[in-house]
């Protein structure tokens, strides 16, 4: 093995669920180099069979998320120099998700949960009708704005220990999106969202440990959104009792 400082010692998790193993690669170190550059170098220069995923390379699409030395990160926006430990780098697919192959995690459960949380727009008007104006400084709009920059990268989902312990838990990203819709005056299914997020895997599973906010590369705070959902679901339940 080379102990040359100009080389990175990279361990990559290979295979899928049944047979995981680890391969080591020596990758030339550069002055300016992202973790995604390293993965791409391996695939192009050392082992074309390496599977991974990326698209935009600039932190907009969210598809390149992986575990880098045990931390969930956008590999395209992570400088190698900031994360290597003694020239070593260890790469694995995103935590809390099944693996398709090598570094490509299966995002299906993640997106299925967005749907289960009713985290999708429920239209109130047709295309021939006037659209509903939204005041940028309205309170619900300001609250929704805090969460709408989410790019569904799954980093918070990988960081959350409640997801790790409870496969039914909808997770920070889906719940945060449900919260932005709950604060959107153009969304037409408030009761549907509230009931979807208060079920078995819903917002009340969250222990407010804040790992989602700690690791979100966009600086969002799903924990705050989930606290909002807890409040609104409890209010709705109390109101339901009173009206009954």
């Amino acid at each position: 093995m080379s102990t040359d400082h100009d080389m990175l010692d990279v361990t990559v998790q290979r295979g899928s669920a049944d047979h995981v193993h680890h391969d080591r690669f020596q990758v030339p170190a550069r002055d300016n180099q992202t973790v995604l550059d390293v993965v791409t170098w391996i695939q192009q220069m050392a082992d074309p069979s390496l599977s991974y995923r990326y698209a935009c390379r600039v932190g907009m699409c969210g598809s390149c998320a992986m575990m880098v030395n045990g931390v969930p990160r956008w590999t395209c926006r992570t400088h190698v120099k900031k994360v290597t430990v003694n020239g070593k780098l260890s790469l694995a697919p995103l935590r809390n998700l099944p693996v398709i192959k090598d570094l490509a995690a299966d995002m299906d459960p993640f997106f299925d949960k967005w749907v289960a949380a009713e985290a999708r727009h429920h239209p109130t008007r047709g295309r021939l009708e006037e659209f509903d104006p939204i005041k940028p400084d309205a309170r619900d709009r300001v609250e929704a704005n805090l969460g709408i920059e989410c790019i569904n990268c799954g980093i918070c989902y990988a960081a959350c220990d409640t997801v790790a312990g409870n496969p039914d838990y909808l997770g920070p990203a889906a719940l945060q999106r449900a919260w932005t819709l709950l604060n959107d005056s153009r969304d037409g299914d408030r009761p549907g969202i509230l009931s979807a997020v208060s079920g078995k895997g819903g917002c009340h599973n969250c222990h407010s440990m804040g790992s989602c906010a700690q690791y979100c590369p966009n600086g969002l705070n799903p924990m705050r959104a989930i606290a909002g959902l807890k409040r609104e679901t409890v209010k709705a339940a109390l109101r339901g009792k009173r009206d009954a």
Partner: protein, 113 residues
């Protein structure tokens, strides 16, 4: 799979809350049983009270008061987080809960010795 490092304040607050909650669940039944001895078997209670003069027991009591206080203030913080308008000062509040709990249990300890 290796979990990401959890060394951030709110995760510590979570662990402290869970451990103190579990410890309370184990200890409180014993505590209430002992208190009930005041009515059913005063002699046995007196025996325990003599035992409680032991310095080691005093330190253990300090620990228990701390657990109860830290669980109560930590729990109040969580309930405020969930039911009051959001505050961005969660780390400060979590630290304050531990601080107040240490102060209370420390005061208890100093009065006990």
């Amino acid at each position: 799979m290796k979990p990401p490092p959890r060394s951030h304040p709110l995760w510590f607050a979570f662990v402290l809350h869970r451990l103190s909650g579990l410890a309370l669940a184990l200890f409180l039944p014993a505590h209430f049983w002992l208190l009930s001895q005041a009515i059913t078997a005063p002699a046995r209670l007196d025996g325990f009270l003599a035992f409680a003069e032991n310095p080691l027991v005093k330190i253990a009591e300090f620990g228990l008061v701390f657990l109860l206080a830290v669980h109560m203030f930590g729990g109040l913080r969580l309930m405020a987080l969930e039911f009051l308008p959001w505050s961005d000062r969660q780390k400060t509040l979590a630290a304050a809960a531990v601080g107040v709990a240490l102060f209370l249990s420390g005061t208890f300890f100093l009065r006990a010795i």
